[in-house]
Symmetry: C2
Subunit: 246 residues, 2 copies
Amino acid sequence: MYLTSERCLDDGVVERSFTLGEIPGILWTPVSASASAPVPLILLGHPPLGLGAMYPRLAGRARQAVADGFAAATIELPGSGDRPRRPAAEQARAELRRVMEAGEPVGDPLIDALVLPLVDKAAPEWRAALDALLSLPGIGGPVGYSGGVISLGVRLAAVEPRIVAAALFAGSFVPRAVVEEARRVTIPLHVLLQWDDEGNDRQAALDLFDAFGSKEKSLHANMGGHAGVPRFAGQDAARFFARHLK
Amino acid sequence: MYLTSERCLDDGVVERSFTLGEIPGILWTPVSASASAPVPLILLGHPPLGLGAMYPRLAGRARQAVADGFAAATIELPGSGDRPRRPAAEQARAELRRVMEAGEPVGDPLIDALVLPLVDKAAPEWRAALDALLSLPGIGGPVGYSGGVISLGVRLAAVEPRIVAAALFAGSFVPRAVVEEARRVTIPLHVLLQWDDEGNDRQAALDLFDAFGSKEKSLHANMGGHAGVPRFAGQDAARFFARHLK
């Protein structure tokens, strides 16, 4: 892991850009982190739109996490931002646009093609990032995962023992194989669902929630579309992490 | 309204029993209520099992409400506790027991017979209680409704303008007519659902949540059966009332 830049934001947050091999990432920590006891880490998931486009929302979530006593980090997804395009993924996304513009239903084979290769490639990368991040001074466990892509969150929750709690955003297509994988998840979960999310199948999200094997899982459904998550919903998620990471 | 007894609980809560005509009720206020500015009121809904049987849980919820800066009150439901039995309701409950023991589905006519007469009789009584309670010194508006019977909460939310927010517990049968009534509700709602509630139809609860006309409505689903509401779910509901009644 190479740190490529470091700056101090105005509210006591240190923001560091890094690369892990060819994968860019960002780490946010409290100014005092290295001096005091290690803080828990929250991995910030995001849709595959590129870290540059996602930066304002990610930085907002990261500042909140740091204010709550955590470090936060994220890495670029395969095929997004400055990373090489993946032809099969581009083709699947073009087909999705065509299907949605034509008002046709989005079938399982297309959902699989959109999501499964992304998760298969991303999950090991996020685990490698975890190795590197947890070796830095000032950053300890336990680790939480927050946000989308929800299928990546499910995979990481199922296979990565250092992740002990996850706040998942039900805002993208979920392959049936991921619903099966969810049955193996046992960590506490906080699932956020926008009831009228235009890009999301509500019933699929409810089925996924039902499938999780976790004894403690909460579904918080709120009104509005994909980007209309109310402010109090973010505060509920923050309290979830405070309960489980501290 | 006649006050029949008054006592001071050990945590600064005054508990007063009253009767409103033939209907018994209980009011909880902060010790300092009459001296200071009027506090908002939360009506505590409950299943039709009698105030005596429900007292420990109601008193616990009332103490929390008072600690949060509210007054809390409840009245006996028709046909419960010391109030005269209602033969039609008794017959419907006996039929429900028979149907459930036989493992048969609970049909719409039985759900209607169980719930609609109860709501039709109870709603005007709760509104009359509101008239009396709000005339007491130290108790002001706005008013919240909390808990079950959820169909009574829907009716009150639809017809009683002094109720400005409701935290509803999806833990009982809901007639189709009540789902239609829910479309007219516009106040902020916080709906609690126990995902594996043995006495509740999950899909009916989701349909009811979907039907509400409110722009702000949140569904909080948690694991466990009817009585297994986790502690943090109660805290979420408390924050909902703090947002809307203060």
